[in-house]
Symmetry: C2
Subunit: 348 residues, 2 copies
């Protein structure tokens, strides 16, 4: 139990900044933990104040993921690094066909970073964790000298339990399967890039960063024989599907007309010479399931607030193993190539 | 399954450096993962190539920890950031009275960082994981621009299963318990500081960084009613015992003559004006157990290669709740105060 009577007055959450002592394990560290982390994250496990947490047994297969978040800028339309970190890790666990339960969070803070901004990020993490129904059970904070980080890096790992009895991963796609996506492509990446480039459009592009675990549960209830779940993050839909085509040794053919790209995202992509299919998403999921379950999966997604624009966008074939092709709007066919050139750095 | 036939020739592990594309999720990322991480960490879970790992059920209470490692310098006598990261996380899980099973590892790389050094660090992680008998089951890599990290930060989390049926944490110390420590104090912190300050002594100070899980298993077999296990890392023995005294609302009295400090560590501490009891250790454990089990716990530690200098160093009392005192070599008594002032930054 952390002693909550201890004086935490030294921390000024309005104008204060992080200093080297906040990461050195002494009283200043305890004060930071109390005033910022414990305040927002409080739960029965974290409040023990140990270096680790002791949780109930997990009687089903255990899904584990981890992710370092170095997004720049830290705050962007539709989210911030805190929401991104929790949603990203919840989603990675979910894409194993699992229900995320617990999150661990490590912070690498730059000396001089605003405590008010840190407080805002931690608050955003707590809210996103609540939205997803997961608990942040243990954490760690380190501080590095000014200049040796970019404000804050947030590293999360997630633990969950399997929702189904069969493996769900990139190796399981089969010829005849349908390929579905839960919504529009490229929102997160273009929200970040628009910030960086100071681009203004009639409509602000908002990141789609969101926890997908509840939609995953609905999809697996509706389409229990789902073979693959993936969130098309770095490298976008194109890179993710190429990875699956490669891992499953199948060909995937997409129908361009079924893939939704918001007008403002399409405009920003055109301006920067990017293909929205290669741009990161943080609140969308790919579902690959037997054709017979495709409509049920689609309905489950459409019934969820994060899946309103869900669509069946393609099919899996034996031919063309390891490749992704697309029937274009013009009626032709083109390869959706493995991402060879440089991608967008620090998008997540 | 990652396609191991893919050309990874672009990476030059001798003279190459990290560039921004290595963290962007495209082909360069895959090449880095293949040539460095997969090569050293290979196991049945990691080889699936998913964003998460699916592990067997854990039928006992689950212990979880996480730690960000930002130690400077990255390489030091007795270890490196890789050994430190694995040992630190293995130990955090162990100190919950649990057997560590799985590790996740996230890397934040600085653009321009030497691939040869990265390879060496990853190799060191793999070897330490093997020494501890844990598997590195999933990972993530991000790259930030030159100057925005200090070579590499390594963030690990650990998952294990409880070894005993009762809670082992800082709240469980009881009046009458014995306090034991597994060896000499201050080795890790002074190894790091000696590097930084370019101090030379007749004997090089080596970090004690080591995984303690096997010694924990031996101690819990010998002293099954152990109340507290802790590794005195940041803030050293003094800060850790103060935390326990505070969490358990007990007083702790130490016997200075029983606490081992190596001559070279004592000399370095004197030179820098530091108290070795406040200096970090990375391969030592505190055991607090009923007096009747103390000799059995001591024997179990002494029988282990990492516990040769183990000793009973103190006792737990009802009086003086929340404080730590020490009977000094001069025969007096002094308070071992809660760490108020600044501690050593970036020691781990």
């Amino acid at each position: 139990m952390i002693d909550r009577t201890k004086d935490v007055g030294r921390l000024n959450l309005k104008t204060g900044t992080v200093d080297m002592t906040h990461g050195a394990g002494g009283l200043a560290s305890v004060q930071l933990i109390e005033a910022v982390f414990a305040k927002h994250f409080t739960n029965e496990w974290l409040d023990v104040g140990h270096d680790g947490a002791l949780l109930p047994p997990i009687m089903k297969p255990v899904a584990v993921s981890c992710d370092a978040h170095v997004v720049s800028p830290l705050f962007f339309p539709g989210g911030d690094i805190g929401r991104l970190a929790i949603a990203g890790t919840v989603n990675d666990v979910s894409m194993c066909g699992a229900k995320p339960l617990y999150i661990t969070a490590s912070f690498i803070l730059e000396e001089g970073f605003s405590l008010a901004q840190l407080d805002q990020i931690v608050d955003s993490m707590a809210k996103t964790a609540q939205e997803a129904g997961v608990a942040i059970v243990t954490g760690d904070t380190k501080v590095v000298e000014k200049g040796l980080a970019d404000g804050v890096y947030v590293v999360t790992s997630g633990i969950g339990e399997a929702l189904v009895d069969h493996p769900i991963d990139g190796r399981q796609a089969c010829a005849g399967d349908a390929v579905l996506i839960s919504g529009s492509m490229g929102d997160h990446g273009m929200a970040i890039l628009s910030c960086r480039e100071n681009m203004t459009f009639e409509t602000t592009i908002e990141s789609d960063a969101a926890p997908l675990n509840q939609m995953v549960e609905a999809v697996l209830a509706a389409a229990p024989n789902t073979h693959v779940l993936r969130d098309p993050t770095r490298g976008g839909l194109a890179a993710t599907l190429n990875e699956i085509a490669n891992q499953s040794r199948v060909g995937i053919v997409l129908d361009e007309s079924a893939i939704v790209v918001k007008p403002e995202v399409a405009a920003a992509c055109e301006f920067l010479g990017l293909d929205p299919l290669f741009v990161a998403n943080e609140g969308k999921m790919i579902v690959i399931c037997p054709k017979e379950e495709a409509l049920a999966a689609l309905a489950a997604m459409k019934a969820h607030s994060l899946g309103k624009d869900a669509a069946i966008i393609g099919e899996v074939f034996e031919a063309g193993a390891g490749t992704v092709e697309m029937t274009t709007l013009m009626g032709g066919r083109r390869m959706v190539d493995w991402l060879n050139s440089e991608q967008l750095p620090r998008i997540c």
